[in-house]
Amino acid sequence: MNRLFRVVRALEGLLGRAWGRFGARVSLFLDICAMFHRLLLGAFIGPPCVGLLFRELCRQVYFTAMRRAYILVFTSLMLGMLVIVHATQQLVKLQGEEFVGWLLVTIVVREVGPVWAAFFVLLNSGGAITVEIGNMSINQEIRALKMMGIDPYRYLGVPRFWGITISLLCLYILCVFTAIIGGYLFAQAFAEIFWAKFWLSFVNALQWIDLSVGFAKTTIFAMLIATVSIYFGFSCRVNVDEVARNTSQAAIWSLVLIGATDIILTAAYYL
């Protein structure tokens, strides 16, 4: 009886802890949702400081989309080539070269392109935003902003949020174009599929719905990355260790949310 009682107590403890952790995750998720709402509307509510916010937004776009865009160009070329190298070997054997375009549309435009660009932005800017805002928070700069009567979420968060969104949309377009060029170069060099045929196949396969899904995914991924990074930046309060911990947490949360959203949107597309 005594042993049974102890087992029940231990089970209770385990369940309690699991429930507590689950509750903490749900609470965190709701906090992130609240932050998303605040950032989305922040640009339109508050004093008319368009110039100031626009300057910060331009800085963010430059940092995210322009400074290291050549890396994305290079990796997207590789992506296009990889798609073609695996596909053409089989398609040429089956006389199915016209499916090259369809393959590129499905993989690059609709599925991998948005995720590829999102990963680039997550690595390039997501962590940087968390560290920057986290350090400002720890150095009491957020407090100074509050004392100046400036909403720190609006001044620091909103330009970064929209900057990341605009940047990711631009980078997605760049990624798709370079992947197509990469695919074409490889297709011509190794499978002797020439430009006219390649382009015709791609244009025939491309539909508005593919582009819409690509852009929708990109926009949502960008907003997720920005919201999570900004949220974890503002969550730093005590010391520098917290900044490191929150940066890694922000990356993991972004990955999880991007994955979940991608599955939901893809499933919605096929339904």
Partner: protein, 239 residues
């Protein structure tokens, strides 16, 4: 209560502070209250609460008759625009220049450029000796200039209530004299209530209306010698 810029009503500060009992203190419009004998440990918890950056453990903090705790976020930001809070813990944003730091508030609220924001305050910047440092970044300047830039940033807001701790470089004879001059000029032009705390505030006696001395967590009223023969007309705005 409406004629008070700041009213601390039976306020208990957070437990770890150096104020053991509930505190009641009112600062009227255009009144300058000095509290001597207050070091950083005593000043910061009190001013954090007075500036609405921290909540009191109990009691009410009222600004111009309204309880700060009842205000919504956006209104709280607007309230802070009317309050200048200067302490060694107040920092400048390190990624922008001193000029941008000082002009940030007006730029945010009025949507103007940095030059437009600073132009009406050229005299203040001149008095604080900041004109040659406006293009420098905060980590590049000395502690004295940094502290003066914090004063400039807060005074540029055109505050109606000034909460300040006089400490560090600004507590030296030269620093305090310069600051007293700046404050006198600001109060004469714009008029504001002020609550100044520090170990010694002798340089500010000519500005002060009331002087307290902090002893064992209690405020004891003192007479400002310079004010013995003060005419009653000086108190008319308080009636």
């Amino acid at each position: 209560m409406l004629h008070h810029a700041l009213n601390l009503d039976m306020v208990t500060l957070p437990r770890d502070s150096a104020w053991p009992g509930p505190l009641s203190l009112a600062v009227a419009f255009n009144e300058v209250v000095l509290i001597e004998g207050a070091g950083l440990a005593e000043s910061l918890p009190l001013l954090d609460v007075a500036a609405t950056l921290a909540s009191p453990a109990s009691g009410h903090v009222r600004h111009w008759g309204r309880d700060a705790a009842l205000r919504r976020r956006e209104k709280l930001y607007r309230l802070r625009r009317r309050i200048a809070y200067i302490s060694p813990r107040q920092v400048l944003l390190h990624l922008i220049t001193l000029g941008e730091n000082i002009a940030l508030g007006p730029c945010y609220y009025q949507g103007c450029s940095e030059a437009e924001a600073l132009a009406p305050h050229a005299d203040l910047l001149e008095l604080l000796g900041l004109n040659t440092h406006l293009t420098q970044y905060p980590p590049q300047v000395s502690a004295a200039i940094y502290a003066r830039a914090v004063w400039a940033r807060e005074l540029v807001k055109g505050p109606e209530l000034i909460l300040a701790v006089i400490e560090g470089d600004l507590a030296t004879t030269a620093g305090a004299a310069r600051l007293a001059h700046v404050l006198r000029d600001h109060l004469a032009r714009n008029g504001a209530a002020a609550l100044l705390l520090g170990e010694s505030l002798e340089a500010f006696y000519p500005l002060g209306h009331r002087l307290f001395r902090l002893e064992a967590g209690q405020l004891r009223k003192q007479t400002i010698l310079e004010h013995r023969a003060r005419p009653l007309t000086a108190y008319l705005p308080l009636i």
